[in-house]
Each structure stands twice: as structure tokens, then as C-alpha cells.
Amino acid sequence: MPDEISVRVLDIVGGALAVSADDGQAVYDKIAPLLREGKRVLVSFEGVNTIISAFLNAAIGQLYGEFPEEKIRELLLVEHMVPEDLALLKRVVDNSKRYFANRPAFDAAWKEEVGDDEE
């Protein structure tokens, strides 16, 4: 098996739209095991023309919950993303780093609702 594996988003989501968290999860499920094996992963967005944050959160942001930043930087690469989508990905990545750095607080914060009246 080669050390660098190409993961083609189009083949996983089945079209040009990467617009759901479920599709993002499917991409994550392909990427994460490869990173666990220490493979370099090239995620190709060729043929994908609409990408939203909810997809990227699931597909890539989620990786920061399992892998250290250095490992992701060393092993993960994306290609065929236009600058606007790269900027969105950067936003998602920065947000994910903050999210997982504070995750114990985030998870502990989930509580029962305090009443249903407005005041």
C-alpha cells in the first residue's frame, strides 16, 4: 500500500455538493483510519463546487478531537479547493482547535433546560 492515499470527496458524497454533516461524517470515516495507520492522506475536492462548514466540521474539524495538530499538519493535505473554500476550511480548522481545547467544558456544559418560560 502506498504511503500517500488519495481520498476523493466526490466519490464519497456522490455529487458536487458537500453540504451535510452526514456526508462529512462519511468522509471522516474514510480519513481517520488512514491517519491512525500513519498514512499521508490527500483529500481531493475535485468536482465539488459547494462546500459548507457543517460538512467540513464533520469531515475535517472532527479530526482535531482525535489527532494532535502536528500529526494532522504532517499527514493531511487538501487539493482542488478554490481560495474561498480554503478560507472556509481555515475558519473551520481554527474553530475546531478552539473547540477541542475547551472540550471538557463544552461537554460538561450540556444541562437540562432551565424552564420554558421567557423570563
Binding site: 455538493l17 453540504v19 451535510s20 454533516a21 462529512g24 461524517q25 463546487n49 459547494t50 462546500i51 459548507i52 462548514s53 457543517a54 466540521n57 464533520a58 474539524g61 472532527q62 482535531y64 478531537g65 495538530e69 494532522i72 499538519r73 493531511l76 493535505l77 487538501v78 487539493e79 479547493m81 478554490v82 481560495p83 474561498e84 480554503l86 478560507a87 472556509l88 476550511l89 481555515k90 475558519r91 473551520v92 480548522v93 474553530n95 475546531s96 478552539r98 473547540y99 477541542f100 463544552f106 461537554d107 456544559a109 450540556w110 444541562k111 437540562e112 433546560e113 432551565v114 424552564g115 420554558d116 421567557e118 423570563e119
Partner: protein, 289 residues
């Protein structure tokens, strides 16, 4: 019961009036609601989406709904966009192609939203937009739709409707759900009894998200707000007793007199916008992670 629907514009008053309908109909069970339009002087077509969300809750309790005395002009609009066909009115052709039809999409069939946009955004001012603008607008709509799918917890689906105003060069798309609302999600997350408008304010602030667990969140609404600021468009969010509007660089948060059980986002895009949304960026795939 008979409810006399007043004029419904796409503004705080309009959402309050729909909230009033929801409150009036809440006690009904296996009963009948007559929605009487005789006092309705105008109905903004995109507001069919939140009206449908209210009526879906009513129908969910085995109530029968009849829509009556619809003034001719309003009837034409609501037959053209297909809203009234659920209430035994015949459809009417949209000869001017200014309608973005009403649709109800179950969460399990979320893929239909992509088909809907593909089919109905074409010819609605999009050719005037730069390619970049069309792309960012579509992304924003998908972000809003996905928020409903992720956060609303609704069994009743998501309701979408829109209207193109060629003279004003504005396109409104409204996405509504009959879910728990932003306030409930933020209260659950923070564990404090935050008001509806404070909950909306919190959800719009970077980097807040009510998402927990493995998938981060909290980028979508801010992405949409940045787009609207650049485009000089408009966002309206109505959820429980909170109403938010962002237009012409001004944000307003106000408390509504009635309770809209669910969340509505209306996104109005300025189709006359010719600026480029293609970024000149120093970002490269090597410096993302």
C-alpha cells in the same frame, strides 16, 4: 375556532402575528381551525414558510385546517407558490417566474433541498450576480438548512419559500422549522435561563455553538452574516420570543409579544451586487492545518 389573519409582512410584526395564530390554536385537539384571510391586506410570499410551520403543529394534533376568504391578489400569490394547494386550492402558473415555490422537506429527505435550489434559484436574479456571489449565497442557504436539520429536533420537517423582486433586485428565501427554537438549545447548553434575544445574540457570536461531542460547530451563522454584510442584503431570524434583523450594517434585537415555536431564517440577497466574491488569498493548502 376561527382565526382572522391580519396583514403579514416579512418583519417583526408579521412574525408576531404568526405567533399569535400559534398561541390561539395551541389548545385545539382533534378540532377545526378556520384560517380566515378576509382581514389580511397583504401577505409577503416568503412568509408562507413560517405560516406552514405554525399550521404543521396545528395539524399534528389531528386538527382540520381550512383556509377561507383569501383576497384575490393574495390568493394568486399563494397559489402560484403552491402554498394553497395543500388546502384544496388549484395551482396557478407563475408566468413571471418570480416565485420560489413553497416546499416542505422531511429531515430524512434533506437531499431534496439541493434539488429545490438547483431548480428554483435559476432565473431569480442569479445571472446578474457574479459567480462568486451565487456560490456564497447558495452556501449560506445550505448552512441555514443544515442548522435546522442539526438543531431543530423537529419531526415536522423544514419549510422553505421565497420570492424574487426584479424591480428591487432582491431575492428572499425563508427557511422555517417548528422545532425547539434557539433559546432552548442555548439554555440546555449554558444551563442558565437566557432570554430569546440573548440566545440569538449568543448563537451569532464567535465562537459559540451548542454542539457538543465529536463534531465542532458554530461557523455557519457567522459565515452567513459576513456574506450579508458584504452583499448589503438582509437577515431576519425569528425564534420563540426573539426577533433579530441585520440590514445595512445595523443589527437589531427585539422581544416579540408572541411566542413563535420554532426558528425562521429569512435571507434576502441583493442581486444587483456586482462585486467579486472571489478571494485573493495568501492561504495555500500547505498552511491550513
Amino acid at each position: 375556532m376561527i382565526f382572522r389573519l391580519p396583514t403579514i409582512h416579512s418583519d417583526k410584526n408579521g412574525f408576531e402575528n404568526l405567533g399569535e395564530l400559534a398561541e390561539a390554536a395551541r389548545p385545539l385537539y382533534a378540532d377545526r381551525l378556520e384560517l380566515n384571510f378576509a382581514s389580511c391586506g397583504f401577505f409577503d410570499a416568503n412568509m408562507a414558510a413560517p405560516l406552514a410551520a405554525v399550521l404543521a403543529r396545528v395539524a399534528d394534533k389531528f386538527n382540520t385546517i381550512e383556509v377561507v376568504s383569501v383576497p384575490t391578489q393574495i390568493e394568486r400569490i399563494l397559489r402560484k407558490n403552491g402554498f394553497l394547494t395543500s388546502y384544496r386550492y388549484p395551482p396557478l402558473d407563475d408566468e413571471n417566474h418570480t416565485t420560489v415555490p413553497f416546499i416542505r422537506i422531511q429531515l430524512a429527505a434533506a437531499g431534496r433541498f439541493a434539488d429545490y435550489l438547483e431548480r428554483h434559484l435559476r432565473g431569480k436574479g442569479i445571472p446578474r450576480m457574479s459567480q462568486g456571489l451565487g456560490k456564497v449565497f447558495k452556501q449560506s442557504l445550505f448552512e441555514v438548512f443544515q442548522n435546522s436539520v442539526t438543531h431543530s429536533g423537529t419531526r415536522l420537517g423544514v419549510f422553505c419559500c421565497g420570492q424574487f423582486f426584479p424591480q428591487l433586485r432582491r431575492l428572499d428565501i425563508t427557511i422555517a422549522d417548528a422545532g425547539v427554537g434557539i433559546r432552548t438549545k442555548v439554555r440546555q447548553f449554558l444551563g442558565t435561563k437566557i432570554s430569546s434575544i440573548e440566545a440569538i445574540r449568543w448563537a451569532l457570536s464567535d465562537p459559540n455553538t451548542t454542539k457538543t461531542g465529536e463534531q465542532p460547530g458554530g461557523v455557519g451563522l457567522k459565515f452567513m452574516k459576513d456574506f450579508v454584510a458584504l452583499n448589503r442584503g438582509k437577515i431576519q431570524i425569528s425564534s420563540r420570543r426573539g426577533f433579530y434583523e441585520f440590514a445595512a450594517g445595523q443589527e437589531t434585537f427585539s422581544t416579540m409579544d408572541t411566542d413563535f415555536r420554532g426558528t425562521v431564517v429569512n435571507l434576502e440577497v441583493n442581486t444587483a451586487d456586482t462585486q467579486s466574491y472571489v478571494l485573493e488569498s495568501d492561504l495555500s493548502p500547505e498552511n491550513i492545518f
